[in-house]
Symmetry: C3
Subunit: 260 residues, 3 copies
């Protein structure tokens, strides 16, 4: 697995301080911004389509989060995607699209009309994109019988992008290569917005590396390793949240190695 990782990216993000534009949901923007800031990236958010061009110019990478999408934010999302003339890397986080046809239709519309670099979602969300029947429960991944590797692969090939399917096991694939990450802690599930933060953290890594697939694998591994390290050093959900933020800001590539 380690061959797919470039752990020096941990330090490169801190040195290069990439600007990540996140079109955020209204539930967890503060967690996403603090998470980006903790790893050494620079968060920026906006809800006005009039700012899209300048915001995209400023950004090294972009995240589109559908967690509380509505008609107004759809305009903002499309303005951002149209402004991305220089094809800066974009992560799509299709939050809870399995629970809402409105969200699912918009996610598919976006994927058909714009090129994304990474789609980051849980099993229920990626299954929805693959038109697989899934017992989804809102923001939870729910459960289903399908082969997750196959689902991730189908979606990656369909939309010519990298799929990061997260859960107890993370499956990362570009349709040809597959990377498996087994690091996990149940605190990620309790902590609302873990996925939102990861999506923007992946964007930060894409912002400092041309090898997007390796960057996505590394970002996901480092993020989960940080969560596991925090879990070992804390007891209780609140304490873990604190320790996780401590570690996001301070973890070194050598420490990631010791968790692996």
């Amino acid at each position: 697995m380690l061959t797919k990782l470039q752990l020096k990216l941990v330090e490169q993000v801190r040195q290069q301080n990439p600007v990540v534009l996140t079109i955020a949901n209204m539930v967890t923007p503060d967690k996403v911004a603090d998470g980006l800031s903790a790893i050494g990236a620079s968060p920026i958010m906006s809800i006005a389509p009039q700012e899209s061009l300048e915001m995209v110019e400023l950004a090294n990478a972009i995240t589109i989060n559908l967690g509380t999408i509505d008609d107004k934010q759809k305009d903002e999302v499309i303005a951002v995607l149209k402004a991305n003339h220089n094809q800066k890397p974009i992560v799509l986080d299709p939050v809870a699209i399995g629970a809402s046809h409105y969200r699912l239709a918009f996610a598919k519309q976006l994927l058909h009309n714009y090129q994304f670099t990474v789609i980051r979602g849980n099993a229920g969300e990626i299954a929805a994109l693959a038109n697989i029947n899934w017992h989804s429960r809102g923001i939870d991944s729910g459960n289903g019988q399908a082969d997750l590797h196959k689902i991730a692969n189908t979606v990656a090939r369909e939309y010519h992008c990298i799929v990061v399917l997260t859960g107890q096991t993370d499956i990362i694939t570009d349709g040809n290569n597959t990377f498996i990450n087994q690091l996990s802690t149940s605190y990620f599930v309790t902590n609302v917005g873990s996925g939102d933060v990861l999506s923007s953290v992946i964007a930060a890594y894409l912002g400092v590396s041309k090898d997007y697939y390796t960057a996505a694998c590394t970002a996901t591994t480092v993020f989960t390793a940080t969560g596991v390290k925090a879990a070992r050093e804390s007891s209780g959900f609140g304490q873990w949240q604190v320790k996780f933020r401590d570690e996001l800001a301070s973890i070194k590539s050598s420490e990631v190695l010791s968790v692996l």
Copy 2:
């Protein structure tokens, strides 16, 4: 008092993982989501009326929070209430309606047109619903001379629902029975959104029990007992917030008993 409690609900929420749809304000949605997730419920939020039907279908209980209501969110609230064909339990949190005629008029419009299961508010908010003059100060409860028991009772009878009037003493009444909870810590006042979180926690308990009155009494007691336990184990506002989240996620019914 203990006869009105069903402390095994603490564990039932964790086992049944009820989905709570919260139409949230824009200040504390992350605290509400994390609070629900910590107690073992599954939070979902949405701001698009187009999703109302599916969101309500998915939900085991609903919270309507008026904390930053505007014309756009009014449409969303009404769409959710209209979609509730199966009469899933609904909690109304009339945040700061004593401070704004716009909010108060909308709260009364809702209460006249839709059946709520629980209204959860502080003294100033419940007094406003009872048309009692009250010196309200925004989100704070303010102070007044009226008999809080009488006010809670009046509102419960008027709207045929359970009233949870929270403060240093919590008064819970369905218009016939009254339950008093004296557990309290000043950290709840300092922590913005304590009431918002409690309203959605009550909804989670309503989502796993048919006896709504007992569920509301139990949810309020467990929530405040958790806050008191956290206060005993911490010093300082920030530390209490952390410990409170630890305890929300881990407290057992036997531990609640030891706080009582």
Copy 3:
């Protein structure tokens, strides 16, 4: 420096519990509300123009934060400013106006048409108001060659208000007097929304004192001293956030003195 401070304001805010109306951005409203509540002020937020008159009546001071301004919120901002017949003190926080012509134009429109008491921003934001070229990076201050004292002074004189230019060194000026605050910790930079919280904290101090210049100097000094004290007592970003909230709620004027 101490001659420009009135450290008893620390206790006066707790005693008088000023109501601060914040027209907030959608990223950090919870941090702002908790910060205000921690220092003993009472936060209130609203997004409906219909509430402006009552909200302003209720408030002792107002903060206008442009962090995620859009056309809808512009209406709300202007409704609040028009409702301020009694000239309650107002803080403008021109978040990231160096990164967006849309924000910059609105900030200038506001400053030309309404009298603000304080403008609180970082170097890039204040430079943008002074029409100085600056390498801005979103919410970060960026860097430039200009003399920060001169920039702050220019803006203060142009708009007849107090400028609080924050950074590693804080420069506070009313165009005639200048106050320098050297207290600083890098955690303020990592913690997204530090500036948002400070702007509303300054408003709280303005709400309990007629000497606005001294109140702004004192609020900024106390806030940064609190951050420095928290940094000495913690290690790691998450722990600092917790300790900072502890200290905001408990720091005494005598403890501020010992940090100075």
